[in-house]
Amino acid sequence: MTLEPDALTDSIDRAAETVGTVWPLHSFVTANPLAGFEDDPFHRAVAEAEQLFGGRGYPHPSVFRQAWENGQIDPDVLAAELDAHDVSGEPETLLEEMTAAESGRQAETDAAAETLDRVLSKWLAAFLDQGQAQWSMPGRDQGFYAAWRDLVPHDDEVPTCEDPADLPESPTTALETVLSEYPQGRWEALFEHHLAALPGWTGFIKQRADGHAGPWQEAYPVSLLEYLAVRLTLADLLDAPVAPDEGEGEADETAGTGDEDVPLPEMWLTAWEKSYRARLLDHIDRGATASQSTDDQRPTAQLVFCIDTRSEVIRRHVEAAGPYETHGYAGFFGVPMRYKAYESDVEVDACPPIVDPQHRVTERRRSDTDARKTPRDWWSQLTTAGRKHLKSLKTNVAAAFTFVEGGGSAYGGAMAARTLFPSKVADVSGAIDDWTPDPAEICRPTVDRCADPEGDEALPQGMTLAEKVSYAETAFDLMGWEEFARLVVFTGHASETTNNPFDSSLDCGACAGNPGGPNARVLAAICNDEDVRAALRTRGFDVPADTVFLAGEHNTTTDEVTLFDGHVPESHATDLERIRDDLERARAAAAAERTESMPGSDRADAVRDTERRTADWAETRPEWGLAGNASFVIGPRELTEGRDLDGRAFLHSYDWTTDPDGEALEAIVTGPLVVTQWINNQYYFATVDNGVYGSGSKVTQNPRGNVGVVQGNGGDLMTGLPLQSLMAADDQPYHQPLRLTAVIHAPVDRVTDILRDHAEVAELFDNGWLSLTVVNPEQDEEAFHYQGDLEWEPQVREPLVH
C-alpha cells in the first residue's frame, strides 16, 4: 500500500517532462517549449510533440518557398542536403509535395472531451487568478482539489455531482479511484495525454509547483497531481474518455529509428541554416584576430553590453562614434540576485533560470540624499492612490454608475490624446520622468553583506568580499580582459513600451525578463570597491587607479543609453561628457537603422519615431525584440568588428589566449550558450506555430488573471510570443525560423573536451537543436563544423567569386 503514492508521483513526474514550463507573463522567462523533448533528435521530438499538442514542428511550406524565392536558401547547399538523404526531385516539386502534405493535418475532437476541457479551464482560471477578480474562488487556501471539490456541487455544468462527500477527500485517493480500472503500466501515457490537453495551464502549474514557491503558491497551493485529480474526477463525472485512444503514441513506431526517417522539411530547414551559416562565416573577419591588438592605444572607455542580439546594433554604432571598445557579457552581469526595486513590494529573480539566486539585494535610499520625499515619491503615491480609488469605484455595485458619469469626460479626453497625439503623450511622460528622479539617483543597492531582519540563511542580504571578488573576476575572465580604460561602463538593457502585456519579453532575457540596469549597478559597485580591487590585483587583474566603473541601461526601444553616474569623480567629468555625446550620436544612428525595419515608421525622424513607440498605446510592434536571432558568436570583437550582422547575432566576448585551461569557455558554453538556444527555440517554435507555441495575434488577446493572455473568450492559457513580435504582417514572417548557429573562436580540441565533459550540452548539438562551428585560431582560422559524436568536418572554403 505504501508504495502506491510513490508509483503515482513517479509516473506523474515522468509524464510531466513533456510539459513545457510556463512562467507568468509579467516575468517572461525564455524557455524552449519542447525542453522536455531535448533528449530526442529534433525531427522526432517535433513529431512527438505534434502528436501530443497538435503543434507544427517545421515552417509552413510557404515560408520555405518565400525563403527559396528570396535566395535565402543556397541551391547548391539544398542539393547537397537532399543528396545526403537520397532524395531526388526538383526543389519546386518538393515544395509542392510539402504543400500537398499540409491538407492531411486535421485534428479530430470528442464532444465530451471538449466539455471537460472547457469546464476545467473555467475552474483553473478561477483558481490560478492572481488578483484580477475582486471576489476570488472561495477556499483556495485548501489547494486546488479541495477548493474545487467544495464548489463543484453548485456547478450546473457538472449535473452529476450533488455533494462534496460523493467525491474522495484527498486528490491522491481521487486519482487512485479513477485509475483502479487501469494497469499501472498505462498510467504514464494516460497522464501524458491529460497533461497535454491544456498545455498552457499545466505548464503554468508545473512552474508554480516546482519553481521556488512564490507567494501565490504558498498561499494557494496547486500541483500537477491535484490538476490530474480534478481532471480525471471531472472526466468521470462528465462521462468523458479517461484513457487516450489506442491510436495515440503510435508515432514512435511509425517514426522508426535511424537516418531514413528524416522528413523533407528538416532537409530544407538544414539547407536554409547552412546557407545562413556560410554567409555568416564569410562575414566574419578571420584575418583580424591573427594580430592580437595589444599595441593599440588605451581606449577612452570600455562598454560592456548584454549578449542580446539588440546589442549588436548599438555596439556597432558606439564603436563608430568614438574610440570605444565594446564587449558582450551575459546581461545579468554574473550577479545571481533576488532583487527588490525601490517602492516595490515584490522580489524578482534577476538571473537566468539555470542559475539559482544567491543573494538578496534591495534598493535603499542613499544616506547622502535628502531624506525628505522627492517629487517621485509624491507622484507615485498619488498615482497609486488614484488608481486604487478608481478601481474601488469601478467595481462597486452601486457606485459604478455615477462614477462612469462623473469620470467619463476625462476618459474621453485621455482617449483622444493617446490616440491622436501619441508623440505629445510621449513628451509628457518624458517630462514626468525628468521631474521624478530615477531610483538609481537616490538609491543604492545593498551590495554589502548585512544582517537582514527578514532574511534567511539560504538567501542572505548582500554579499561577502570573497563573493564580490569572484563576480568581478569571472566577468574579466570570461571576457578575456587584460587592460582597463579610464571608464568602464556595464550596460544592462530594458525596453520601454505601453499597453503591452508582453513588455517583459522585451526586457533582459538573462535577467529572467527584468531590466538589466540593477545588475549592472551592482557589478559596477563591486568593481569600484577598493577591497575588491586589492584582491583582484593579487589575482592578476591590475585595475589602474584612474579606472572608474559605472553602470548604464540601454533602452532597446529607443536605443538611448542612460548612464548612472552619481558617483563619478570630478576627474572624469570630461570623459563622461564626451561619452554622453557620443552615445547620443550612436543612438541616433542605431535608431535610424532600426526604424528601417519597422513597418509604418517615420524614417525622417527616427529618434522621435522610437520615442513615439514607447508611449503609443496603439502600437503592437514597439520594437522587434530578439526577432531575427540566428547565431551566437563567442570570440573577440575583432572577428565581427565593423561587420553588419543586422542584429541577428548574440555576441559573447572571449579570448582563447587568456584562457589556457578552457575554464572560461566551459562557463560560456554551459551557461550563456544554453540560454541563447532556449531563446532561439522559443522564437523558432512561436514562428512555426503561433497558436500552439506562441500566443497568437495581440489584436484578439485578452489578458487573464495577471498571469498571461488567452485568445478571445478564453479557454487554455496562451504561451510564448505573440504574432506581432515575429511577423511583419499576418502573412509575412520577420523572424526567420532558423535554429541557432553557434560559432566559437577557440582550438577545436578545447571545445571537444568541453563537450565530452558536458554530455547534456553535447546532446543538444547531437540532436540538432542547434549547430556548432569552431573557427580554429591554431589552424589558420579554419572553420570546423560539428558533426555529432565529437566529430568535426572542416569547412570547404570555396573560392569567393566576387
Binding site: 499538442f53 457606485a399 454608475f401 513597418p599 510592434r621 484578439t700 485578452n702 478571445g712 504582417a729
Partner: protein, 495 residues
C-alpha cells in the same frame, strides 16, 4: 561588389520589412473624421435652431440625431485612427476598415431614419456588421461561432423591432416614426402594449441585458478596437430606440416600472458578475451589461436625456478601457483581505459630503428637486459620493490635508462635469419628441433604492463572500457560449 553595405545577403532581414500600405484604411479614417466635423456642424445648428429637419419622410435630423452622430463619429474616428497602427499587417485589414466605416454610416442612418423600413433595415445592418466584426478572424472556428451567436441574437432583435413597428404602422397607417408618434392616441391599447413590448425586447437584446447578455460576453473574438466600438457605439442603440419611441412609453406607469426593474436587475447582476471575472475583457463585458442596465433604468424613470448622457459618458469610459486592455498584466502579491475599519468621524464626514453631493447634483441637473422618479437618481449619486469619500479618506498614504482637500475637489469636478454635459444634451435634444418625462415616485422606486443600498452594504461588508452557491452561479452565468471557447490551441487560426 562591396560586402560591407547592406545587401540582399541572407544575414540581413531588411528585405522583409516593407508592408504594403493600402489606401482603404487611410481613406476610411479621413472620411470618418470628415463625418465627425459634419456632425459637429449639425450639432451646432440644432443647438441654435432647437428643431428638426425632415427629409422626404425618410430622415429626420433633430437634436438626438445630432448628439448621437457627433458621439458615434467621434468614437469611430478614434477607433479608425487607433486601428491604423494597432491593426497594421492584419490579413483582413481592408475588410475590417470597410466594416467599421460602414457600421458608422449605418448607425448614423439609424439615428436619422424616420421611415420605419429604413429604421429597421439600418438596425439589422448594424447587427450584421457587428457580428461580422466579431468573426473578424475568418479561419478561427471559435470566432465564427461567436459571430454566429451574435448574429442569431441580432436577427431576433431585428425581427422583434420589425414586428413592433409593423403593429404601429398598421394601426396608425403611417410609415414615418414621427407620424406614428403623433397619432399614438389612436392605437388600440392592446396593440400598443404588444408593440412596445416588442420594441423593449429588441432594446434589451441590443443592450445585452439579462437574460440576453451571452452574445456580448462571447464577443471577445473581435479585434480590440472593434470591441471598443461595440461597447461605445453599438450596445447603446437600445437606449436610443427607447428614447426615439419615448412618447409611447412615458404614459404607461406599469410598463415604465417594468423597464426600471429589468434595467436595475441587469445593473446589479452585471456588477456582481464583474466581481468574479478573471479576464480583462469579460470584466469589461460584465460592466457594460451593468451600465446598459442603468441606462435602460434611466429610460424607465423617464429621464431619456439622462440615458443619452449616460451612453455618451459610458462610451468614453468603456472605449478607453478596451483600448488600454493590454495594460492589465501586473505583478501582484496575494492580498490580505479587505478590512473596513471606519471611525465615527469618517462616517460623519462621508455622510455629510454625500448629502452635499446629492444636493449639488439636484441643483445643477434639476433631478430630484421634485417628488418624482428623479429622486432615485439623486439617491444613487449620494451613495456614490459617500463611497468615494470613504475610499479617499481610507487612503492612508496620502497626507490628511490632501485627503480632505481632494474630497470636495473630486466630487465637485465630477458632478460639475456631468451636470454640464447633461444640461447641454438635455437642451439640445429637447427638440426631440421627448427627452424628459419623470414618472411619479412609486413603491418600485423605493424598493429599488433599498435594493441598491442593500447590495452596496453587502459588498462593502463582504456578506456575499459567505455564499459559495452565489459565487458559482455568478461564474456560470457569465460563461460565454461553449462553442466560442478556445480550449485546443491548434484550432486557433494561424493559417
Amino acid at each position: 561588389m562591396a560586402g560591407q553595405t547592406r545587401s540582399n545577403e541572407a544575414v540581413t532581414l531588411s528585405e522583409t520589412a516593407t508592408v504594403s500600405d493600402s489606401l482603404v484604411p487611410r481613406a476610411a479614417t479621413a472620411a470618418v473624421w470628415a463625418l465627425f466635423l459634419l456632425s459637429l456642424g449639425v450639432l451646432a445648428l440644432t443647438a441654435w435652431e432647437r428643431g428638426g429637419w425632415s427629409v422626404l419622410d425618410l430622415f429626420v435630423v433633430d437634436g438626438l440625431t445630432a448628439v448621437v452622430w457627433t458621439v458615434v463619429t467621434f468614437f469611430s474616428g478614434i477607433v479608425h485612427s487607433y486601428s491604423r497602427r494597432y491593426m497594421a499587417g492584419d490579413r483582413y485589414l481592408e475588410g475590417y476598415f470597410g466594416r467599421i466605416f460602414a457600421f458608422t454610416v449605418v448607425v448614423m442612418t439609424m439615428t436619422a431614419a424616420d421611415h420605419v423600413v429604413l429604421f429597421v433595415a439600418a438596425w439589422l445592418a448594424m447587427g450584421l456588421l457587428m457580428a461580422s466584426l466579431i468573426g473578424h478572424e475568418r479561419e478561427w472556428a471559435q470566432a465564427q461561432a461567436a459571430a454566429g451567436t451574435a448574429r442569431r441574437y441580432f436577427l431576433a432583435s431585428s425581427a422583434l423591432l420589425a414586428a413592433g413597428v409593423a403593429i404601429l404602422g398598421w394601426t396608425t397607417g403611417a410609415t414615418a416614426i414621427t407620424r406614428i408618434l403623433q397619432q399614438a392616441q389612436q392605437i388600440p391599447r392592446l396593440a400598443l402594449l404588444a408593440a412596445v413590448c416588442c420594441l423593449f425586447l429588441a432594446a434589451t437584446i441590443q443592450s445585452a441585458l439579462f437574460p440576453f447578455h451571452t452574445w456580448l460576453l462571447s464577443s471577445m473574438t473581435a479585434p480590440t478596437p472593434a470591441s471598443a466600438l461595440m461597447h461605445a457605439g453599438f450596445v447603446n442603440a437600445g437606449g436610443i430606440l427607447l428614447t426615439r419611441f419615448a412618447p409611447l412609453l412615458s404614459g404607461e406607469t406599469l410598463l415604465m416600472s417594468a423597464i426600471v426593474v429589468v434595467g436595475a436587475f441587469s445593473a446589479l447582476l452585471g456588477q456582481a458578475m464583474l466581481l468574479v471575472q478573471t479576464d480583462v475583457k469579460r470584466k469589461l463585458g460584465a460592466s457594460t451589461m451593468a451600465q446598459m442596465g442603468f441606462m435602460i433604468l434611466q429610460c424607465g424613470l423617464g429621464f431619456f436625456a439622462a440615458a443619452v448622457t449616460h451612453l455618451v459618458l459610458h462610451g468614453f469610459y468603456k472605449a478607453y478601457l478596451f483600448l488600454s486592455s493590454g495594460e492589465a498584466v501586473e505583478r501582484t502579491t496575494p492580498g490580505v483581505g479587505k478590512h473596513t475599519e471606519s471611525s465615527l468621524a469618517r462616517v460623519g464626514v462621508s455622510l455629510l459630503t454625500a448629502i452635499g453631493g446629492g444636493v449639488l447634483f439636484a441643483v445643477l441637473t434639476g433631478k430630484g428637486t421634485e417628488l418624482n422618479s428623479g429622486l432615485f437618481l439623486t439617491f444613487v449619486v449620494v451613495l456614490t459620493t459617500m463611497h468615494a469619500t470613504r475610499d479617499i479618506l481610507r487612503r492612508a498614504v496620502l497626507l490628511p490635508w490632501l485627503r480632505l482637500v481632494s474630497v470636495p475637489v473630486i466630487v465637485l469636478t465630477a458632478i460639475g462635469a456631468y451636470a454640464a454635459l447633461f444640461n447641454a444634451i438635455s437642451t439640445i435634444i429637447s427638440g426631440a419628441p421627448m427627452s424628459e418625462a419623470p414618472t411619479e415616485l412609486t413603491v418600485v422606486h423605493v424598493a429599488l433604492a433599498g435594493l441598491f443600498t442593500g447590495a452596496y452594504l453587502a459588498t462593502e461588508l463582504g456578506w456575499h463572500r459567505s455564499s459559495e452557491r452565489l459565487y458559482v452561479a455568478l461564474l456560470n452565468i457569465s460563461q460565454p457560449d461553449p462553442d466560442t471557447i478556445l480550449t485546443r490551441k491548434e484550432e486557433y487560426d494561424d493559417a
